[in-house]
């Protein structure tokens, strides 16, 4: 009991009451289960000492966790308003149990911007929001044609000022591409590497409207999509082209919104937008998933319940029912599974979940009824159909047994 120090380096007195930084997103920071657990104890009313003593973790370990949470900007000292510089946001965490941002598929040389490893190829736009307003530095004044009134076309700087040895080799390489084609791809590759913003990547001025963006993107696609070079020898440009096109497609998707944009870069939404009820529920849900993956199914259930109270959507109900089964709460599972099935009465997958819940609750004949019904609902999902058959056989076997 007495081994809690009076002070912790970098934080100060253990008598202080720490708060969780309001802007801190445990999902983006991808904290581990223990860190998350400690974080959930910090409520601004208990002194740090109490938390260290009651966490159930060895005090040293707990101190290390608190220190790390503090270092990634999760914790505020009394009187502090904003978090100290936080680590770069990571992509949504999850699953086998997650840790941090992905690293670039092919780390490129000569980038040198910032110490944080970020996948420049795949998430070019994620952290660019603040820079969006700045004019596209790297795409410089267009070298050809008048800008005004002409239909929007993508303009990239093809001069390749101070080419790297790698670029020189690429320009000289033996393949079926022309000089201008090579230069365009190398120029965009540079932009990808330097994490230029989405507009610059597409070679258009900042704040270009959707219609012009589309035109520019379509025109650019005609020059950098691998299909346009089908059957031609591309040398090292094969990989480069895929990389460059993917980055541009992502940039376009992000700028033009729509479901795909959000799906591929969940962090793209503006932070200063007020949080809606749905957002709040989504956050709770994501947290719950993380806790569940961390191995604490019971803990996760509380968060799932909270998320469902705010926004009882199908996805949450399904996941909560699954988690309840893992947590050994068949009655709760059944309740959620019933609600989910009511929302999607013709979804065989929802029916299967309900049957699983019935089975767990010992109601075998109910499970059989639901499965038989689910089998009648045709699905193009072969895997699901096979699972249904398997489940039904199993339930019938159990029913036949004395």
């Amino acid at each position: 009991m007495s081994n809690v120090p009076a002070e912790i380096a970098g934080i100060g007195s253990t008598q202080q009451r720490l708060r969780v930084s309001p802007g801190f997103d445990p999902l983006k920071a991808a904290v581990g289960p223990e860190e998350y657990f400690v974080l959930s104890r910090i409520d601004g009313t208990q002194p740090l000492r109490e938390i260290l003593l009651n966490s159930g973790l060895p005090v040293d370990r707990c101190i290390a966790i608190v220190t790390r949470l503090r270092s990634i900007g999760a914790l505020l000292l009394p009187g502090e308003a904003a978090a100290p510089a936080a680590a770069a946001p990571a992509k949504t965490s999850s699953p086998i149990a997650i840790s941090r941002a992905p690293t670039p598929m092919k780390p490129m040389t000569g980038s040198g911007t910032g110490p944080v490893k970020r996948p420049s190829a795949s998430f070019p736009a994620v952290a660019d929001a603040p820079r969006r307003a700045a004019p596209a530095q790297s795409s410089d004044p267009p070298t050809t044609g008048p800008v005004a009134a002409a239909p929007m076309i993508a303009q990239h700087d093809l001069r390749l000022v101070k080419p790297s040895p790698e670029e020189l080799a690429a320009l000289a390489e033996h393949n079926d591409l022309g000089d201008a084609e090579r230069r365009l791809i190398l120029a965009i590759a540079r932009l990808v590497e330097s994490r230029a913003d989405a507009y610059a990547l597409l070679g258009v001025p900042a704040q270009t409207d959707v219609r012009d963006l589309k035109r520019a993107y379509f025109q650019l696609s005609k020059e950098i999509h691998p299909d346009r070079y089908y059957g031609r020898k591309l040398g090292t440009f094969g990989d480069r082209m895929a990389l460059v096109f993917e980055a541009c497609a992502r940039a376009y998707a992000r700028l033009t919104g729509g479901e795909r944009a959000r799906a591929s870069s969940p962090a793209a939404q503006d932070d200063d937008q007020p949080q809606t009820q749905q957002d709040y529920a989504a956050e709770l849900f994501d947290r719950a998933c993380n806790v569940e993956i961390g191995g604490d199914a019971l803990g996760a259930m509380k968060l799932f319940a909270a998320a469902i109270r705010v926004d009882p959507q199908l996805r949450y109900l399904r996941r909560a029912a699954n988690c309840a089964l893992i947590a050994g709460q068949p009655r709760t599972a059944l309740e959620y599974a019933k609600k989910a099935q009511m929302q999607a009465p013709t979804d065989p997958s929802a029916a299967r979940l309900l049957a699983t819940a019935f089975r767990a609750a010992g109601k075998l004949s109910d499970a059989e009824d639901v499965l038989v019904m689910a089998m009648a609902l045709k699905t193009e999902n072969d895997a699901l159909a096979a699972e249904l058959r398997h489940d039904l056989a199993e339930v019938r076997r159990l029913l036949a047994a004395p």
């Binding site: 149990a97 840790s99 497609a249 997958s349």
Partner: protein
């Protein structure tokens, strides 16, 4: 030298169509009968001959058990799938379980895989185009419904391979339709493609501009198509007949086949007339040696009543697709109708009503998909083409994570090529390996998605759980090939797979089928020659037999005469043996000898007469 021409094939559930771009213009290639579409039917006749297309369709009534139609519903399917279950009930041919949880079809005691059956249709389309072009056509773009999963696409590619075709790309039918619609027109608009074909329904939203076709969203229902409309008519007929005579016509395979034909015909007719007579004389015989006839009128109103829920379902799917893509109905500037079913007036009016605009009438619903496929073929291989298709991945891709959940890495409807990576960690202390299960689908439960492949990354450092990090990278190439790589971030150790064979056929099996089919091609061609030779031989035999008595009378008196008659007999026998053995080489030789003898016989007879 083989040409580098690429044909476009619409491999349909009920009909198939082939097209090619020549001098910048896409056109449909008619088959030998002058028809632009060929029934997707394959049959094995009583003499063991393989029949494809119109010939197969013509004999379907009398040979229903050995005639395959709608094989597309089974391709790439698992034995336990709903599609196979329902096909087992309604198809007159025998469907059996294959060795890899796949499906096989049994025709006259011969077992065929579904890709093989589809290969025969593709081969027929290949032959049609080769006859038309006068040169070999080695490459094709083949279309599939947007909703086909990886296994079904792979199986379709396998079918191409068995048919001796290099399928350079598989594209979605509605996408192909949009290509044909926008080809050669300088348009910039958002369009919807409503594709109600023989077996499936698809809806796709595309953005077209400057020769670029971007797929925004695509969805559909694989259990909704023209055949469901036919079945409603059949059920109605069967029900009426049963009420009148107390006999269930579905129990009689021949009657069922006739009902199927008449239902399809009536359905088509009702697109242009208000009512049609259904007349099936001698549809079935009662036990007392007395035949019953089926005769009734079907009106368009009745048909619409019977099928209104089917049409409603397509409209619901349209609404859902728009909603998911976050597109307003008002943003759609044109609707393209594809598939024979869209000829039905009620379908057209339902679509017009939903979108609030008259559907585009400029494209031919049966030909547009093949035309689009040929356009994509040219876009890939012809440098003069100025078309680019920005296609999307039809299903989400991801891996299984702890708890049996499916973690998506690439969302459906993402433009390809694309790649995505994510860092995962170990879930157990001292875990030294991770198993990566690559899955495709939309369910949050891993086991409810299609397993594309799996591999294990070993050699991880022993450490507390959560400490060792593994990065998983997904890549989909422009031609839809999925590759997955996992890397231990500490050691840099890597393990990867490229998803390929999931069609239910092993590589060995496909190779064997490719070989077998080559033999068959040789057999068919030489068979035709043989038929010619046999025909000539039989004619000669007939004549010689007729002359035998006369000739024997004339020459039998001399010693040489006896020998000559014996020799002539031997030549005749040899020819008959060669015909029976179907051996072209022996037959050619024997016929030569036979003709010599015949000439001699003719000479003998005419000399005597003279």
């Amino acid at each position: 030298m083989a040409s580098d021409k690429v044909i476009g094939i619409d491999l349909g559930t009920t009909n198939s169509c082939v097209a090619i771009v020549e001098d910048g213009t896409p056109s449909v290639i008619p088959n030998r009968g002058g028809y632009k579409t060929t029934p997707s039917m394959v049959a094995i006749a009583e003499n063991g001959k393989r029949l494809v297309g119109h010939i197969a369709k013509r004999q379907a009534i009398t040979n229903a058990e050995n005639t395959v139609y709608a094989a597309k519903r089974l391709i790439g399917r698992k034995w336990g799938s709903a599609a196979v279950r329902s096909s087992l009930e309604i198809m007159p041919y025998r469907i059996v379980e294959g060795p890899h949880d796949d499906v096989r079809i049994m025709l006259r005691d011969q077992v065929f895989s579904v890709p093989e059956v589809s290969a025969y249709i593709l081969q027929e389309m290949k032959l049609i185009s080769e006859e038309y072009l006068g040169e070999e056509v080695p490459k094709a773009v083949v279309t599939v419904p947007a909703y086909f999963n990886d296994g079904q696409r792979q199986a379709t590619k396998d079918a191409g391979r068995i048919a001796g075709l290099d399928v350079i790309r598989i594209i979605n039918e509605p996408t192909a339709a949009a290509l044909a619609y926008g080809f050669g027109r300088n348009i910039e608009r958002k369009v919807a493609v409503y594709d109600l074909g023989g077996g499936t329904f698809d809806i796709s939203i595309l953005e077209i501009g400057n020769g670029v076709f971007e797929v925004i969203s695509t969805a559909g229902d694989t259990f909704l198509g023209g055949e469901d409309f036919d079945r409603r008519i059949i059920d109605w007929l069967v029900f009426g007949f049963e009420k009148q005579h107390g006999i269930d016509l579905r129990k009689d395979k021949m009657a069922l086949q006739r009902l199927k034909d008449v239902a399809e015909k009536a359905k088509c007719e009702l697109s242009s007339v208000k009512e049609t007579e259904i007349n099936l004389p001698f549809i079935i015989s009662t036990g007392r040696n007395e035949a019953l006839h089926l005769q009734t009128m079907l009106t368009r109103d009745k048909l619409e009543e019977l099928t209104s829920d089917l049409i409603d379902r397509t409209v619901e799917i349209c609404a859902r697709t728009l909603e998911e893509a976050e597109i307003q109905k008002s943003q759609i500037e044109d609707v393209i109708l594809v598939g024979g079913m869209t000829r039905m007036p009620r379908v057209q009016s339902a679509v017009a009503e939903f979108f609030g605009l008259e559907p585009c009438k400029g494209v031919h619903p049966d030909e547009v998909v093949a035309l689009g496929a040929s356009i994509q073929g040219a876009a890939l291989t012809d440098e003069k083409s100025d078309i680019l298709l920005l296609d999307v991945t039809p299903h989400s891709l991801g891996i299984m994570i702890v708890g049996g959940y499916f973690h998506k890495l690439i969302e459906q409807n993402t433009t390809v090529p694309t790649s995505e990576q994510h860092v995962f960690t170990t879930v157990k202390d001292n875990q030294t390996s991770v198993k990566i299960l690559v899955l495709q689908g939309e369910s949050d439960r891993a086991e409810e998605n299609e397993l594309l492949g799996e591999f294990v990354l070993t050699g991880l450092r022993r450490a507390p759980r959560g400490e060792v990090e593994v990065e998983v990278m997904f890549h989909i190439s422009a031609d839809g090939i999925v590759s997955v790589k996992a890397r231990d971030l500490e050691t840099g150790l890597e393990q990867s797979i490229t998803v390929t064979a999931t069609s239910g056929l092993t590589e060995d099996e496909i190779k064997k089928m490719v070989e077998a089919n080559k033999d068959y091609m040789v057999e068919v061609r030489s068979g035709q020659e043989f038929d010619k030779a046999r025909h000539a031989a039989e004619k000669a035999l007939e004549e010689i037999e007729a002359l035998f008595p006369q000739v024997t009378d004339i020459i039998a008196g001399s010693d040489f005469g006896q020998d000559a008659v014996k020799k002539a007999r031997a030549v005749v026998d040899r020819t008959r043996t060669a015909i029976a053995a179907k051996d072209l080489t022996t037959l050619t030789e024997a016929t030569e000898a036979l003709n010599r003898t015949l000439n001699m016989f003719r000479g003998v007879v005419s000399k005597t007469r003279g």
